[in-house]
Amino acid sequence: MSEKWTKFIGFLGAAANWTIPIASLVNLKNDASTIDPIMTTTLASYSLVFMRWSIAIKPANYWLLGCHAANELAQISLLSKWGYYKLTHDSKNDNKNINSTVDNNKK
């Protein structure tokens, strides 16, 4: 395979990866209770490692580096939003929400 083709596919991969930070930035508008903290932390740690990985390979993929930097920012902002929501809301309201979802499932 020629290097040009590899670089093109790398660019395509980075472009597809850009949909992850965009999707999470769109989710910033939604209610904080919809955020899944486990998935967000895994995405953030995955971005950290892949920032390093993207330039360790040959040919180096600088598009991917930028994409993962953006993803890191997006995930951290989501996480901080979730943390702020957890700190400011009391647990009584959460219990009410859980009960209402259980009732919906029964119907």
Binding site: M1, W5, T6, I9, G10, L12, G13, A16, N17, T19, I20, I22, A23, S24, V26, N27, T34, D36, I38, M39, T42, L43, S45, Y46, V49, F50, R52, W53, I55, A56, I57, K58, P59, A60, Y62, L65
Partner: protein
């Protein structure tokens, strides 16, 4: 100029090259693969497919809570990256594992998309039944 700043890291697979860490990995040669970023990165990426799988099995994430935008994007990257990881240099065990784990990721999030779409369809059917 930005590229010049990153010259230290381009093509360099060793994560931490401080003498203390290197000595530790010399003593434990079975763990030495962890200091190579091409091996560590696929290992980290496995968590991206393990988390939704475990949530699917334990049922801690019902289909109405699935973030469909995220599932779409992760499914798309998974399928493109399976091909990309067969093109890059170096071709070692790590990159082959990356291809495998990207395939798994595409499948996991694909099934998540299917679950959410099926849930939405069922809800619509219930609504139309209620109206009748």
């Amino acid at each position: 100029m930005l590229k010049a700043l990153l010259n230290k890291y381009t093509g360099n697979q060793i994560i931490c090259s401080s003498p203390l860490v290197l000595r530790f990995f010399e003593r434990n040669p079975k763990l030495a693969f962890l200091n190579n970023v091409t091996n560590l990165a696929p290992l980290m990426k496995w968590s991206l497919s393990i988390v939704p799988l475990s949530q699917m099995i334990t049922g801690s994430k019902p289909p109405q809570n699935i973030d469909i935008n995220q599932s779409y994007s992760l499914c798309a990257t998974g399928s493109i990256w399976t091909y990309y990881s067969t093109l890059i240099q170096p071709q070692n065990t790590g990159t082959k594992m990356l291809a495998a784990c990207n395939g798994a990721m595409a499948l996991c999030h694909g099934s998540n998309i299917y679950r959410r779409m099926k849930y939405d369809k069922d809800q619509e059917a219930l609504k139309t039944q209620a109206q009748k």
